[in-house]
């Protein structure tokens, strides 16, 4: 089970991230979480938003390069060792993490890890078998409210 993430190319120019956020705000799209990957020359912003299809459309219309990527969201027990447990499962299943970022839901207790794997399906199966709940898009949005 995967969820859709919007990735946008960020040119190394002041105000670029603000432009992207404003474009989404004007279309009444809220950002559930975002993560920035950057180099000295350019960046990539990855976001989970309230309406990914619309987000992609408005970003493209505004002239940005954006694409949609399937990622896996897993809830992590919010206690020491919580993340290590998840990573052990993934290690054992021999899946590669291409990138990952984390965010916490409003009410504490639970954190969510977002992953992009070389093999999302295999990773999901391993996580589910080990009893770690993989979230669907609807529940991410619900929890984020």
């Amino acid at each position: 089970m995967t969820i859709n993430q919007i990735s946008v190319f960020l040119e190394n120019r002041p105000g670029q991230l603000a432009n992207i956020c404003r474009t989404l705000a004007n279309a009444d799209i809220s950002i559930v979480t975002l993560s920035l990957a950057d180099t000295a020359e350019f960046g990539i912003v990855r976001m989970i938003v309230s309406d990914h299809d619309k987000a992609k459309e408005v970003l493209k219309k505004a002239g940005h390069v954006a694409n949609m990527r399937e990622v896996v969201a897993v809830t992590v027990p919010d206690r020491p060792g919580g993340m290590a447990e998840i990573l052990d499962v993934l290690d054992a299943a021999k899946v590669d993490i291409e990138y990952s970022y984390a965010f916490a839901f409003h009410h504490g207790e639970k954190a969510v890890l977002v992953f992009h794997f070389d093999d999302n399906e295999k990773a999901c199966a391993a996580l589910a078998a080990a009893g770690h709940p993989v979230l669907d898009y609807k529940s991410v949005l619900e929890e984020a409210k």
Binding site: S7, E11, R13, D38, T39, E41, H64, V65, N67, Y99
Partner: protein, 446 residues
């Protein structure tokens, strides 16, 4: 490479427009000598600057006994046209002049070229020969998106197209949305534009969701008036499915249609029954043998309004020694991908923008839009190349994007031997052109 689906009569010495293209070499040389002798005498008697320079060298028209004797004659340059503005180089009397063309030039004072009716006919004939060679015929619809007016681009293709009985759409440059609408509505089959303006049209088509293959009848692109590369041609052909033809010309000599590429794509055939070419070493000014790269020099040998003798074009190319398989005897030159004026000296190395373009476009994911930025710093000058990222090239994996940047860098570096900073920028952020594009921003302190 020969392009596919040629009409069978493209390469035909019996075609009324193309017959001269195949003239046997010996009579061609005799004709050229005859016309050269005529031109030298004509200009000597009518153009004071030319006469003065000949006298300084002790040359008289009767000294021109062979084509090789052309090297006795003085050169002319763009500055002569500026200095003699408006009509100091005019050969024909005013009552024979039917049209002026001017070029603003980038440095202020314009140049002005008076043309007689015969000059216009020769020019038109050159354009017709090019169009015929491309496979364009009566029945084709030509959208002329070169600028009309003082610039020769628009009117040159206009008269050439009409001369063949094609339907001409004199739309000129600009208003890109309407260009696409009319292209579709009128079933345009050929478009004439600068390559950089055509890229702009391609952008607009993409924005409107127009697919050239599916939604238009466009088959031919007639591109010239600015330097471009094989890589740019491949990009245009791949994206649109049209055949991208080369045309060459210049106002000082006539206009578009001085030379053009045949289907064998060996280079551009020069209509040397009217425009006699030489290649010289730009430093020593000595003529170079065919095959060697140097500055292209033209002598008009049938022109009256403004006879130009040994005009230095600043374009760098070579004349081929091999015969073209198409059978045309008119000599072939390489496409102009560099002008000596455009040469940049970066970190002590000579670089032509065309070399950078060739490198960039070897990476197919990169959009054909780029800008070269040079700035002075306390140490080494900053040398940056901005390239637009395309949707197809974008990945949210940073390694993939870094790799793309590195591939672009390697491709450029392998040609020019320098290491510029490659900056990936968002689509549609670099300047577009409606005529001739300026891709180099040189802010270095002189």
């Amino acid at each position: 490479m020969v392009y596919p689906e040629l009409p069978h009569d493209v390469n035909s010495p019996t075609h009324p427009v193309s017959a001269m293209d195949y003239m046997p070499v010996e009579p061609l040389r005799a004709l050229q000598l005859h016309r050269l002798q005529w031109t030298v005498k004509y200009a000597y008697e009518r153009v004071p600057l030319f006469r003065k320079r000949c006298e300084e060298r002790g040359v008289r028209p009767e000294h021109i006994k062979t084509l090789a004797d052309i090297k006795l004659l003085p050169f002319s340059k763009k500055t002569d046209l500026r200095d003699e503005y408006p009509m100091g180089l005019r050969g024909a009397p005013m009552d024979e002049i039917v049209r002026f063309h001017c070029s603003s030039g980038t440095t202020g004072k314009p140049i002005c070229i008076p043309n007689t009716m015969q000059d216009i006919e020769v020019w038109k004939n050159g354009a017709m020969r090019c169009l015929t060679m491309y496979g364009i015929r009566a029945g084709d619809v030509i959208q002329v998106a070169y600028g009309y007016g003082l610039f020769t681009g628009g009117l040159g293709l206009h008269y050439g197209g009409e001369g063949l009985g094609c339907a001409v759409l004199p739309i000129s440059g600009g208003n890109t949305e309407r260009q696409i609408m009319l292209m579709r509505d009128l079933g345009v089959t050929a478009i004439a534009a600068t390559p950089s303006y055509f890229l702009r049209i391609m952008d607009e088509a993409k924005k409107q969701g127009v697919d050239f293959r599916r939604d238009t009848k466009l088959r031919h692109g007639i591109f010239g008036a600015e330097p471009w590369t094989d890589e740019m041609r491949e990009t245009i052909e791949r994206e649109t499915g049209i055949i991208a033809h080369d045309i060459y010309g210049l106002t000082e000599i006539s206009g578009p249609g001085v030379a053009g590429a045949c289907p064998h794509r060996t280079g551009l055939h020069i209509w040397e029954d009217h425009f006699y070419p030489e290649i010289i070493d730009p430093d020593t000014l000595e003529p170079l043998p065919d095959g060697e790269i140097g500055e292209l020099v033209f002598t008009t040998i049938s022109r009256c309004g403004t006879p130009m003798i040994r005009y230095r074009t600043r374009d760098l190319t070579r004349l081929h020694t091999e015969k073209c398989p198409c059978g045309r005897t008119m000599r072939v030159m390489d496409r102009i991908s560099a002008r000596s004026d455009d040469m940049l000296i970066i970190h002590g190395v000579n670089v032509f923008p065309g070399q950078i373009e060739a490198g960039l476009l070897r990476v197919p994911e990169v959009a054909p839009h780029y800008q070269i930025v040079l700035e002075s710093t306390d140490t080494l000058d900053r040398f940056e190349i901005k390239v637009e990222v395309t949707d197809a090239a974008f990945s949210d994996d940073i390694r993939h994007m870094e790799n793309l940047r590195k591939r672009v860098l390697d491709a450029v570096k392998s040609i020019i031997g320098l290491t510029p900073k490659i900056s990936l920028v968002e689509p549609n952020t670099l300047p577009r052109s409606e005529g001739k594009i300026k891709r180099v921003i040189d802010n270095r302190k002189k």
